[in-house]
């Protein structure tokens, strides 16, 4: 029982008591010692279910989408990446800032490989901060991409082909991703002719490539897609490649920050890089 956990519980109890929020989304323990799951606390008596340890890894922001059309605020416990996910959803016009009460929790490194390359441990936006901000760390986000680029075209192709042949098209990566917030995903519109429903390597590759392109310029690098993928496909390697290109071609670029820089594919400059002369 560390003190942040107790402070968190008191804060939530207070918020529920004075009806600031209708309920709070946090993490609670499960019967597995090393796993937690999202918890929706609406009754101040249940606040003891909330936990804060190095197993609180799942992203909570996207659950707020269910409350898109309801009145009243809801509270969300936000680490660095969750707060960027909230920014992402606000920028994509899916959530309104005034409907959210963000409880900031400086992240203490959850031993996930994505956390090694995390550049925003402290929440970028919050209404209330529980605990002291931690030191930010510089990280080379695109090191792995560099390694991949060094391989030959055929090597890269066989790497991705073997990976995507494992994909079972469960769409978990789409469902967890805060950038994937379309009402009608292209993958579900088989009659329009976008994407087949068959589970074969080619279609999986097409799905992987299209999803990468769709979220590439808005990805907040939270790594959830990789975490939830049952088949352990390195999905982040794809989106990070696109972010690397964007940084090289259109100036350094990080998504989900409150500065609200518009997505790169929605704007242009006259002097853009151009190999098509």
């Amino acid at each position: 029982m560390n003190d942040i956990e107790t402070k968190l519980r008191e804060t939530v109890k207070r918020l529920l008591a004075d009806h600031t929020v209708r309920y709070v989304i946090g993490w609670e323990a499960t019967r597995f010692e090393d796993k937690t799951r999202p918890a929706f606390i609406s009754d101040s008596a249940d606040t003891d279910r909330l936990v804060w340890n190095k197993y609180c890894v799942s992203s909570l922001a996207k659950y707020a989408l269910d409350e898109q059309h309801s009145e009243g605020k809801i509270g969300i416990c936000v680490r660095g990446c969750d707060s960027r996910a909230v920014c992402r959803l606000i920028e994509d016009k899916q959530l309104l800032r005034e409907n959210l009460y963000l409880i900031g929790l400086p992240c203490d490194d959850k031993e996930m490989n994505i956390c090694d390359t995390c550049t925003h441990r402290n929440p970028v936006i919050y209404d209330e901060l529980v605990g002291e901000p931690v030191l930010e760390r510089q990280a080379d986000r695109f090191a792995m991409v560099g390694l991949m680029e060094a391989m030959s075209a055929d090597e890269r192709y066989s790497f991705w082909e073997s990976n995507y042949s494992k994909c079972i098209r469960c769409y978990a990566c789409r469902n967890i991703c805060p950038a994937c917030n379309c009402r009608a995903c292209y993958a579900d519109q088989e009659r329009v002719g976008w994407q087949g429903k068959q589970m074969n390597t080619a279609q999986n590759q097409i799905y992987g490539l299209t999803r990468t392109y769709h979220v590439g310029d808005r990805c907040i690098e939270c790594g959830e897609c990789e975490r939830v993928c049952p088949m352990m496909i390195p999905v982040m390697l794809q989106t990070r490649k696109m972010l690397k290109d964007i940084n090289e071609m259109f100036g350094d670029y990080e998504c989900g920050l409150p500065d609200g820089r518009a997505p790169v594919l929605g704007e242009y400059t006259l002097g853009d890089a151009d190999d098509f002369m």
């Binding site: 075209a153 192709y157 066989s158 299209t210 990468t212 392109y213 790169v264 006259l270 098509f276």
Partner: protein, 146 residues
């Protein structure tokens, strides 16, 4: 990934051409009876910005050996800013395709204006030769090859 090229195999190349510039240039090439290989099939679109990058991936999935996206020169777009978006979309898409193993020559984009009939012929000829050299495309291909 070596594939034995059956003799007499002809590459199938899809070219998205913008109606106001490249398609006019292609017609002008016809008007001047210029000659170029038969491999390119042109799909007319009002502006190069109409081409959704998904169409390109779709073409490779369904069996095209090469895809070409052509439009007006930046600054000359009939719809003023259309090709500025095309430029960004396909500069990123081209690098992503190469990153996934597609040979750089398989997907190309070119700015060809309405009066550059010769440039259209040369581009089509060069792309056809490059794709003929690369042989049929098996990457991302759904159906009989994969």
């Amino acid at each position: 990934m070596s594939v034995n090229i059956k003799e007499g195999w002809e590459p199938k190349i899809l070219a998205f051409c913008c109606n106001w510039c490249t398609y006019t240039g292609a017609d002008l090439a016809g008007l001047n009876r210029m000659k170029y290989p038969e491999n390119v099939r042109v799909a007319r679109v009002p502006c190069s910005s109409r081409v959704n990058p998904q169409f390109v991936i779709r073409a490779f999935q369904k069996g095209c050996d090469g895809v070409l996206v052509c439009g007006c020169h930046p600054g000359d777009c009939h719809y003023v800013t259309g090709n500025y978006f095309t430029r960004r979309r396909f500069m990123l898409m081209k690098k992503l395709l190469e990153y996934n193993g597609i040979d750089p020559n398989r997907f190309q984009a070119r700015w060809i204006s309405g009066s550059e009939a010769a440039k259209f012929r040369d581009t089509v000829t060069r792309v056809s030769e490059q794709i003929k050299e690369l042989g049929p495309n098996v990457k991302f291909r759904e159906g009989r090859w994969s």
